[in-house]
Amino acid sequence: MSAPFRTDAGGQIDRRKSLTFTFDGRTFQGVEGDTLASALLANGVHLMGRSFKYHRPRGVLGAGSEEPNALVSVRRDKARVTPNLRATQVELYDGLVAQSQNRWPSLNFDMGAVTSLLSPFIPAGFYYKTFMWPRKAWDHLYEPAIRAAAGLGDAPTEADPDRYLNRFAHCEVLVIGAGPAGLAAALAASKSGQRVMLVDEQAQFGGSLLAVTDALIDGKPAQVWLDETLATLAANPKVTMICRANAFGYFAHNMIGITERLSEHQAHPDAGAPRERLWQVRAREVVLATGAIERPLVFPDNDRPGVLLADAARIYLNRYGVKPGKRVVVATGHDEAYRAALDMHRAGVEIAAIVDARPYPRGPLVEAAKAAGLTVREGYAITGTIGELRVNGAYIAPIIAAGQVGQTETLSCDGVLMSGGFTPSVHLFSQSRGKVVWDETLETYLPGQSAEAERSAGACRGRFGLAQALADGFAAGADAARHPVTHSFAVEAVEGDPKGVVGALPHNRGQGAKAFIDWQNDVTTKDLKLAVREGFQSIEHIKRYTTTGMATDQGKTSNLNALGVISDALHRPIPQIGLTTFRMPYTPVTFGVLAGMARGDLFDPIRTTPIHDWAVEQGAVFEDVSLWKRARFFPQGREDMEAAVRRECLSVRKDCGIFDASTLGKIEVVGPDAAEFMNRMYINAWTKLGVGKCRYGILCREDGFVTDDGVVGRIAHDRFHVTTTTGGAARVLGMMEDYLQTEWPELNVWLTSTTEQWAVIALQGPKARTILEGLVEGIDLSPEALSHMSLTEGKICGVPTRLFRVSFSGELGFEINVPAEHGRKVWEAIWAAGQPHGLTPYGTETMHVLRAEKGFIIIGQETDGTATPDDVGLTWAVGKAKPDYVGKRSLARPAMADPARKQLVGLLTQDPAVVLDEGAQIIVTRGQKPPMKLMGHVTSSYHSAVMGRSIALAMVSGGRARRGETLHVPMPEGDIAVTVTSPVFYDPEGARVNG
């Protein structure tokens, strides 16, 4: 054993199991049960970090999740570097590699500490005040420089290879915190036979009990009671106990977010073992037993390494067998520090003095300290510390009047243990939207009116001391379980006065002294006072101006002292100042655990069509359309997209193309009132549409703007086969259901999504009929029997089909609907039959070009949620005789008939080789300087192979009246002249579709 500050016996560690680890490249020995912090302290290392703003050397302050200073990076490999871990929570394993942060080149000598010398010039709000001008320098100079200097830790350089899990859980009672109150609550609740969950952030259950050496519970030493209680709970199958679990967020209706560390603490996690698990627990009732956090004392240079919280020091001693130093000053305003002093004294740590800011401290702990021969300086304040990288002395002085101290004395020491009292952890309670109330007696905020089905128990609601915590916890557990069980704990323990001190201690160290309030954000009393002097009154503003209590600390150690200092400066009592919101997460959580399995291929569901694999085999390039994978083009040889699309387009116009349209949304509208329902929903008239006929349907929202379109076929008098856009399928069905269920429940109609039931094969081109003829049974494909915009049912390749004669290309076209499971078979049969006729597969890109050549719109491309049917040239589709349809009243608004509305037009560049950018703006006169009057924008733009030039669709103000006009598209390289035309570029007579 080479660790000089390790005790010989006692604690929750196994001294026989030695662990080797490195910190900043130096090798140390720890033991099983250590945290990184306790192992470093055992080796006499207090310096564990540099502060955020001033780069001051910092030692460990606490022993748990409240730690603001000792933030380290733990590295396993390039992809597994976790920054900003609290050394107090990092469980030691053999081979652990940890590094300090925020220092360069080393922790002992940090160049960044020069900012500390400049600190008179970087007060609160420094950045806001200094980097105001010139405005442009902010983006290019100030912000990048500040960002480089700020921030803590480095992110890993490779993607996270680990697995993270998610689990939903339900229980009747969730107990958060497994200290004495939480254990008693779980014990009581478990007697009801209901499902109980007990979670704790530490590696071991027990909370403060893990460091208790001097108390008896029900006649047994506290450790024995703890072991027996854990055994009782573990034996109950209805009780789930999770340690290493950070209850980070209290969400609405008793949903608690918890992250569980599964393999972080292991030296060699199994390959593929999950790293963390996110629990989303819905509890009928919650018991918050989150304890309290010790408050630092606020005095000059209270951040020197070697200065730590008294109770943390006691935990290091009793739980980890580590002494904080050889000779310590105990500075306090609270009785618990005496317990720490007594434990230190018994372990052989010399107590230089107990320096108590209270004038007449009394009580059993104080008397015990005096009886043990410890020096108690009553009515004394600690006014500073001496040392560089480690404290080697402390200044103390008597408090002679309010805010004044007398003659200073110097005490030599290598540690200062401080305590201002305990602040209840109301974070989760506050997150649940419960209202905290100020307690005059304890001088702290406590949980008040609940907003959710929860109750607090123990120290987190000011019930300090073992006896109170156990009794309060048990009662809370019984209440939460609605189970009338009682137990009276017999507790033998010495307990002190729960009240402490709040705010800054008086000192005589002058204006330059730095007394830290918020260690993590480097906020001092001076910063808070400056904010008040500069006129800030609201705690919310002061918080943001000074950054006190922000970031990962969330006010754990700083909150109440900040309020105390602000209260003094504003001359208003603390409860009148208010309290900022405690935000989740309580302690930081990883992005990995929040993302869980939803990354990589599992980030989103992927939808594929029955023909997908065929397209893959043909080497298709895919694009994402909502969740679907759609073949975008089918390159041959070394073709790029442009070449492939040109070839595919010409093949469709000359011979025939085959296209997978299976992603189109499909809704079966069935029932006696189906036609009436369609009349009310769509702008078109449906009553007279004959069975076996199709119509291009337009759906508007109630505000009159086009929201979807698609071909609708009438299968029977009472049955419509409605198609929607690929991305709009769910939205359209939801909208239909809305009207049907809530506005017109009297209509006898049934809606069923059939999108995935049909595979849809589009066959487009002059040879389509020839290719198809040999494959169908009982279907007459002749123009007389199956004219454009009609449909028939029958068989193809032996399977049933709904065969539509429709065209989205302007060519003779068919859309063959077959049951999805037969999709690929039918596709391959058509493919084979088409080989002698030059059949070519084409993708969405070619489909887009072909339809643009015909001036057909695409929802979301030509329309943007502000286009009426008339705007996009679809007035012909409106069923004008209908008394009503969704959107009709809105379309009658005068603004909808404004001749200056943007209307769909075609644009031809004067240079046919120039392809406009989609989204480009349109102006009337050339050569304008911003701000320009914008007349519209380009919605679709392609090179058209069949036209031998570029084409574009656009929405232009008053566009239809501008045909023949020259407009301009301003681009960085100069204006592009365009001529306004009809949006139909190819075959304007529409003859080809009848081929």
Binding site: F168, F251, A252, H253, N254, M255, Q280, R282, R433, A451, E702, D703, G734, E737, D738, Y739, Q741, T742, E743, P745, P883, D884, K888, R889, S890, A892, R893
Partner: protein, 96 residues
């Protein structure tokens, strides 16, 4: 995540639902008969109260039915849920 009691299926997590805006805004029987102000009122104006709010939800990933709820917008607590077509319950605030 809210816990929402579908009147057809019982309590379910919010994941299964979509919000449907303010409830009890019936589409006028004869929209053509409304003047511009009246139509605007129907189409765009919503109460957005602080406190009890009657709103529509749809149990999309469950029974797929719409229903109505009274929710306190200050606390997110649901006071009651009820079926489409039923009158708004005469309640003043969150149930104790």
């Amino acid at each position: 995540m809210l816990l929402i009691t579908c009147p057809h299926c019982g309590p379910r997590p919010e994941l299964e639902f979509v919000h449907g805006g303010e409830a009890h805004i019936a589409r006028p029987a004869q929209p053509e008969a409304l003047n511009a102000e009246e139509w605007t009122e129907y189409l765009y104006m919503r109460a957005n109260p602080k406190g009890l709010h009657a709103e529509r939800w749809r149990h999309l990933h469950g029974c797929a039915r719409f229903f109505n709820a009274l929710r306190d917008t200050t606390t997110d607590q649901f006071v009651v849920t009820y079926k489409t077509g039923e009158a708004r319950p005469d309640l003043k605030g969150p149930a104790a």
